[in-house]
Amino acid sequence: MTALLIQLLTGLAGASTLFLVAAGLTVIFGVTRVVNFSHGSLFMLGAYIGWTILSRLPRDPGSFALGVLLTGLATSAIGSAVEMVLLRRIYKAPELLQLLATFGVVLILQDATQAIWGPADLTLPRGPWLRSAVMILGERFPLYDLILIATGPLILGTIWLLFARTRWGTLVRAATLDREMVSALGVDQRRLFTSVFALGAGLAGIGGALVLPQGSANLQMDLSVITDAFVVVVVGGLGSLTGAYLAAVLIGVLQALGIVLLPKATLVVVFVVMACVLIVRPHGLLGRPLTATRTDAAAIAPIRPATPALLWAAAALLVLAIAAPLIVGPFVLSVLTDITIAILFAASLHVLMGPGGMASFGHAAWFGLGAYGTALAVKSLAAPMPLALLLAPIAAGGVALVFGALVVRLSGVYLAMLTLAFAQIVWAVAFQWSDVTGGDNGILGVWPPAWAGPASFYWISLVLCVGGAILLRRALYAPFGFALRASRDSALRAEAIGLNPNALRLAAFTLAGSAAGLAGGLAAYAKGSVFPTTISVGHSVDALVMVLLGGVQTMAGPIIGAIAYTGLFDALLLATGFWRAALGACILAIVLLFPQGIAGGFNRPGVAGSVKRTI
């Protein structure tokens, strides 16, 4: 019993830092409607900057507090700079592009952090007061944890006062409701947005510095904290500060208790709780349905059927692709195999993003489920290749059906954040459940049978992937595809003509999940192995970049994108040690220069204002 209580308190302490991150995320979202992926990076920078400052200060409580505040000011300045240089330019972009652009910032900041502070974890030498403890029910409990527990409500109260009692707070709350009206009343939105960013970034930085005494500054903390923060913000209700605190406490305590009670299943418990909350309250504990933002974001342009010239080019390319093994060497052949797999992966995501109108940020989950499904079938059932490959789409599609049933009702950003969180959970399961998945070491020795040499396997992959992409394309021009697009454009009108938008979206979700799963199964054979990195955020982003590179509004887009991206990526890997930063810069360039993707880059609406979707 006592152990549980202690664990509960530990959970509350963790909840405070989580809240610091989630509070900034939710306030920034409320006002700017941008889900700031790089918020976790500000938390990480807070830890590193905090380490630099605190390790130079005397080790008394007063200096600690001063150092934490200075850290908050520093990250606040960095956050404001990111907002002014980048986000200001993309407030009117579609939300997925915004999410992607801020992920570009994540990549750049990761490399920058590593370049400045090095790859090793940094721990802070702790003064005596940081090591002292109080006795609770006869157990020693760290004093610092008690301070953390008090910090959460203290910050909540301070922000609440700021919002309720100051003109700035009134303007922020008004802008959360209708930012266009606020600007028509003479308030400079840009300064308001920047100041909100500065506040959020400062809170994240303080959170990062506050974890130093019990942990370390490391290069993984950005993505791990942002995943938790997404879950917290979604469970609490986007834009709700109090909701974020309640959810942070809920998640923090669940995680802490889970470690004692169900050590293997902690993440799954968190996910199940999140699912329960969202089934009962689709907008989170204290959230409300999002009012449509009053600025018209550039809409996704209609899907254009391919022109005859494009079809001829595709046919020529296909003939070349079929003849390739007779022409090229083994290295190029393996790159070509990767490209076929990337094409199916990208095309499956395109079904969700384009016609489905669903912003999926965790597409690697399905790819990974397929890959692990195949690898496990080979390793534990000794399944032959056709069966193992068949299992890939079944495993991924099955899970996609269950998860999709939960999330297809949700709107854009919620969906994006939940798909990301789900992918992180699948990743964690693959990483932690080492008895089955081999953990970090992965599953090795998944080679094709002797009859399928490199050339034959390439052909198999070509048939399955290009065939799969063509089938997906056909589905989009079939009645299913039109019904799906009708539901995307207006769920109400689609219902009025007898369609069931959620069922259609679920079907698309499952279809896309299965196709990505098949791509994953092929990838397992192509590489001969599977690792948890297959499911990482980075891999999900690969798919997003491929689709956006090609443009969402053409069916050829994902294919062009997959080819261009696989080439670009290999070139970056060869050319630079800072491939993450380079990739991040490429992403930013794409988002800023070609908001409609490369294939659609010359078809931008000329005049600001709303563009009505036509098909």
Binding site: T170, L177, G186, P605, V607, S610
Partner: protein, 238 residues
């Protein structure tokens, strides 16, 4: 002869995406004048106002306000030059109290006129006086309409764009609204009023401009529009 107009609009065009809505609007509004913009639903009255305040950036044309070009400024800068906008859909901040709604609109006074304060606005709209702490979402339509006008006045505008303020209100409230508008006029505030309710407009406006599919087709004294049969049948088949 009127003085040089305070607002001068020349050849104003505006688009929603690819849809061309305003096809060259010309308008003048003088100091202290009320001009009513009459036209059918969908004629472009609201779009004209949004283009003036900058919410729909004009795609061509000039807007001169107090001798300054404002066509390419962002909405907040236009508002700070003294142009107030009262939207047709009212757009009250529903979670904010009446007092907070007014606070959002507050801008420093300009010129010689005394600044608007909540106190003075409650005298103008007595219905609001007792509601300082009520959330905007829990008010009747008429009260919201008064609040949205009061909120705009907090910015001390010299010209107010009033988009169909009588729409959907009971006769009693409409009556109070016209008193308030006349009181504003007495203060020297200029008003561009969009209206379909000609009776309401006739008592307030000095001049009328008729708009049809994004063009001004007639301008003149409101009395002419009301009583000259030829003009009426040509432009107001209402």
């Amino acid at each position: 002869m009127r003085k040089t107009p305070m607002l001068e609009v020349r050849n104003l065009h505006a688009h929603y995406g690819q849809a061309h809505i305003l096809h060259g609007i010309d308008l003048d509004i003088g100091e202290g004048e009320i001009l009513v913009l009459v036209g059918r639903n969908g004629a472009g009255k609201s779009t004209t106002m949004k283009a003036l305040i900058g919410l729909v950036p004009p795609s061509a044309g000039e807007i001169t306000f107090h001798n300054r070009p404002i066509a390419n400024l962002p909405p907040y800068a236009i508002a700070r030059h003294g142009l107030g906008y009262v939207p047709e859909e009212r757009r009250i901040f529903t979670d904010l109290t009446v007092a907070e709604n007014l606070e959002v609109g507050r801008q420093p006074a300009r010129g010689t006129r005394p600044a608007w304060t909540p106190h003075r606005l409650f005298a103008l709209f007595p219905n609001l006086a007792t509601m300082g702490t009520r959330p905007g979402g829990r008010m009747s339509g008429g009260e919201q309409q008064m609040l949205t006008i009061a909120r705009t006045l907090m910015g001390n505008p010299s010209l107010v764009l009033l988009d169909e303020p009588s729409e959907g209100l009971s006769p009693l409230i409409v009556e109070q609204m016209s008193h308030a508008i006349l009181a504003l006029k007495a203060e020297g505030v200029s008003i561009l009023l969009a209206e379909q309710n000609l009776h309401f407009a006739a008592r307030l406006a000095d001049r009328a401009a008729v708009i049809e599919t994004g063009r001004i087709v007639w301008t003149g004294p409101i009395q002419t529009l009301l009583h000259d049969e030829a003009v009426r049948s040509a432009h107001l088949a209402i």
